[in-house]
Each structure stands twice: as structure tokens, then as C-alpha cells.
Subunit: 141 residues, 4 copies
Amino acid sequence: MIVTLKKARTIVRKALEKGRALELKPLSVVVLDAGGHVVAFEREDGASAGRFAIAHGKAYGAVMLGMAGTAQMKRAEDQAYFMNAVNGVFGGQVVPVPGGVLLRNPKGIVLGAVGVTGDSSDNDAIAAMAGIEAAGMTGEI
Amino acid sequence: MIVTLKKARTIVRKALEKGRALELKPLSVVVLDAGGHVVAFEREDGASAGRFAIAHGKAYGAVMLGMAGTAQMKRAEDQAYFMNAVNGVFGGQVVPVPGGVLLRNPKGIVLGAVGVTGDSSDNDAIAAMAGIEAAGMTGEI
Amino acid sequence: MIVTLKKARTIVRKALEKGRALELKPLSVVVLDAGGHVVAFEREDGASAGRFAIAHGKAYGAVMLGMAGTAQMKRAEDQAYFMNAVNGVFGGQVVPVPGGVLLRNPKGIVLGAVGVTGDSSDNDAIAAMAGIEAAGMTGEI
Amino acid sequence: MIVTLKKARTIVRKALEKGRALELKPLSVVVLDAGGHVVAFEREDGASAGRFAIAHGKAYGAVMLGMAGTAQMKRAEDQAYFMNAVNGVFGGQVVPVPGGVLLRNPKGIVLGAVGVTGDSSDNDAIAAMAGIEAAGMTGEI
């Protein structure tokens, strides 16, 4: 299973719909493939200018480390110097908080990741999961 | 007039449809707003991994310089050191070739830009223009 | 409403006048537009050499995140690794303290930001607000 | 003689007035001090988003090298690898074309530089010189 554009579109649209249903702030959603490369992105009207970078940072760290946002955050809290160092080797592109959701196949292989930003990190993750489920995939928050 | 997500979606979809109609190679399309920030992006299945950066670079230079891809390419051919220097001040993010299409309002104010990559630069620009026209906007190749 | 040069000049001049009226240290004031791009900047005689970067950093983070300096500082205090990561994705350009004042329209859309530096962060914010009010705009400290 | 804020303001305003008198495209003007640090900057309405970086690059190279834009351009044309290398050591911040005007005192000591961008490089330099003369200073194009 790979993250096709068709699947990525479903993820983006359904994550945004979830945000509207929950009356969240304007969201931005990115979908990355197994190499950490962008497949699709959308930023809702009213979202602040820098949201691509933040959504991307949440998803990028998930793919590069094979570790979802919640686990990254725990690591950042337990061992800040480790996540700082990780950001050194990845050019500062990793944002280690929830809203970066890892996509795995049933065998645990990383297929890509989804990054959502705009509301609280926990709500961002809820929206991401709605999109992932609509696409028939499994997410790790 | 601003580049809403609705307009950006239309640009992306119609540019990709044009690519399919013309049997171009897999395309990637980005839409940036007036500040050079990403509103929407899609990469077709089969496109190479780095296409976000190239699409973005075509559109980003157009917004930052207020100069479309064709004019940037001419400048790069006439005065290579100038475009090199421009790329220095913009962190290497400018790709000065056609396929970076500038969006202006009737008064000439930059509203954003569209970047398409995947086929020849000229075909990329044709696909971009199809998307822009479908969204009721005016593009400068 | 956009941040015209005329409005930006008013903001800069009136912020500096406020600094003189309050006998603050020499101030530097930058005004950014909705895309985070500089519209105007002035540095008073006697201010230290690096003040452009600091003023810019205060305002840039506000625009990119849609979050004023006070809220950024709280986030940096609560979750230092998050603001570190944000600075990674924005190339180290974010200075998360008061003195970065967000400009919004009545619907909450970000119009730009003002960054003031030179005195205490709180006094910087007071000077910024004086300029913003003189320009008939609304600031979020 | 140093580049006070008062002088810098005069340079910026008179350069912009010259641009209006000559019906040039919207201009952006930066004034740097003897250390290459920004004293003042203004970007006219309608100028493209990235004009601060270009104006800055023109002036910054002039101060750092003690060489005005015309001389830098000649060097770039004669010895491209040298200007590339210069840009390496200065972090890509040098834009070696006219419109970067050096400010010297009567003994030849560098006092700062003015960077203008928006129209042709030669017209940019004309506007810069108008500002510099209005401030009672001497410019080297």
C-alpha cells in the first residue's frame, strides 16, 4: 500500500471536514509519502501564513524517525537535547508534537505521515485521524 | 481578490486535468498566496520525490520578484550572476524557468503564483494557465 | 485593510515618539505585511547594531504563527522544545517575546505585525501599541 | 560623519520622491550604516514581496566589500567565481548590481550604503543618488 494522490486527497479533505464539524480554528493538512516527500497540502482561509512549515515539520519528523508526534513529544520532554540534536541532523525541520500522525501498514512499515496544525495539538491529531480513517488507513497518533 | 483555498483547489485540479488531457508526464502543482506562502499542493502518482521543492521554487521566485518564470529565465540567461545572487538572498529557493506563473489583479498587484513541474517547462506553463483560467484569474507566464 | 507604506510610516514614527515621551532607550521598529515581508523599519541613533534582526524576529513570529509576542512567550515557557522546533522550521527567525504585536482585521485575519525592540519587552510593546493606534489599527500584544 | 536616522530618513524619502518624479516602478530603499546594519527601510505599495532582501543585498555587498554596485557588477562579469565565493563567506547576502550605492566621507572611509530596487538597476541608482545628495552626502554608484 502506498500513499497515492487519491488517498492523500481524501485524507486532506476529510481532516478539514472534521475540523469544520468540530468548529476548530482554520486547519492546514499535509500528507507525506514513505520518503518524507509532500504528496498533498491544503491551508484553510484564515490560517496564519506559516502553517505549511509547521504541518510539514510535524509529519516530517514522524516519517524520518518512524515515531508519531505523541512519542516525539515525550522524547522532547524527557530528553530535550536528543530532539535538539535530531533537529540538527534534519535541518531544523522536525516539530515534535501531536498532530504528526504516522501511517504504517499492517506489518509496521512506515508508509508516510500526516501533519495537521491550526488548533490545539490534540485537536489537530483528531482531525488527522478522521482523514486517515476515511482513506481506509491506520494512523498512529 | 485573494487566492482562497477554493480558488487554489480549482487551479490545482484543472492544471492536473490539463496534464492528463495532453498526456504530459506526472505533474506537481503548487499555489502560493501574495506573501509567497503555500495554499495548496498536489503531486501526481509517478512524479519524482523532489517535485514539491521545484514547483515551489518556480512559484516562489515569481512572487518574491514580481516576475514570472519566462522573464526570470531571460534574466538568468543574460545575467547569471544576478539570479545566483537573488537565490542567495532567498535561501536558494528560486527556480527561474517557465512553469512559474504570476497571478496579478487588474491593477498589476501580485496576488500569488502557481508553480507546475514534471514535463517540459513550456508544457508545465500550459497546464498552469489552464488551472488559472478555470479559476477565473489571469496568469503571466 | 492592508498595511500600506503610509500606515507603516505612521506606526514607526508614533512608536518612536512614544519611546521619546517615555524616555525609553533608543528603539527600533519594524512593520511587516500579511506575508511577513518588511514594509518599513527605522532604528534610532544609539541603538545597538543588531536591532533590525530582533525587531524583525518579534514581528515575523507573530505573522507566521498568527500569535502575538505575549502568547509566544507563554508557549516558550510552557513548552520550550516546541518554540525551538518552530524556530527550526522558520530558519531561526522567531523571537518569542512581547514587543511583537499582531495586527488583525475585525474578522481576526492577520494583516501584519509590528516589532519593537530596545527597552524592556513590555515597554517595547507599549511603544508599538502607540504607533498602531495612531494608524487607526488594532494590535494584539 | 555618521549615517544618523535623520539622514537615513532623508535618503529614503528623497529617493522615493525621485522615483515618483521619474515615474519609475514602485521602489524599495534601504540605508545601512558603516557596519552594514539597517538604519531605515521603506517599500512602496505595489512593490513585490521580496524587495527588502534585494535592496539589502545591494547595499550590504557595498559596505562589506567597500565597493559600489557598478564595480561589483564588473567584478561579477569578469570573475564570476570570485563573486560566488564572496557570497559564500557572506551567507549569500550580496547582490552585485547597480542600485547599491556606497557612502564615503571625504577621506574615503566607508560610512554606509544605500540599496534601491524596483526599476532597472540604472534607474535604481539614480533614485539612490537623489536621496544621498538631498542628505548632503556623497555617493559612489
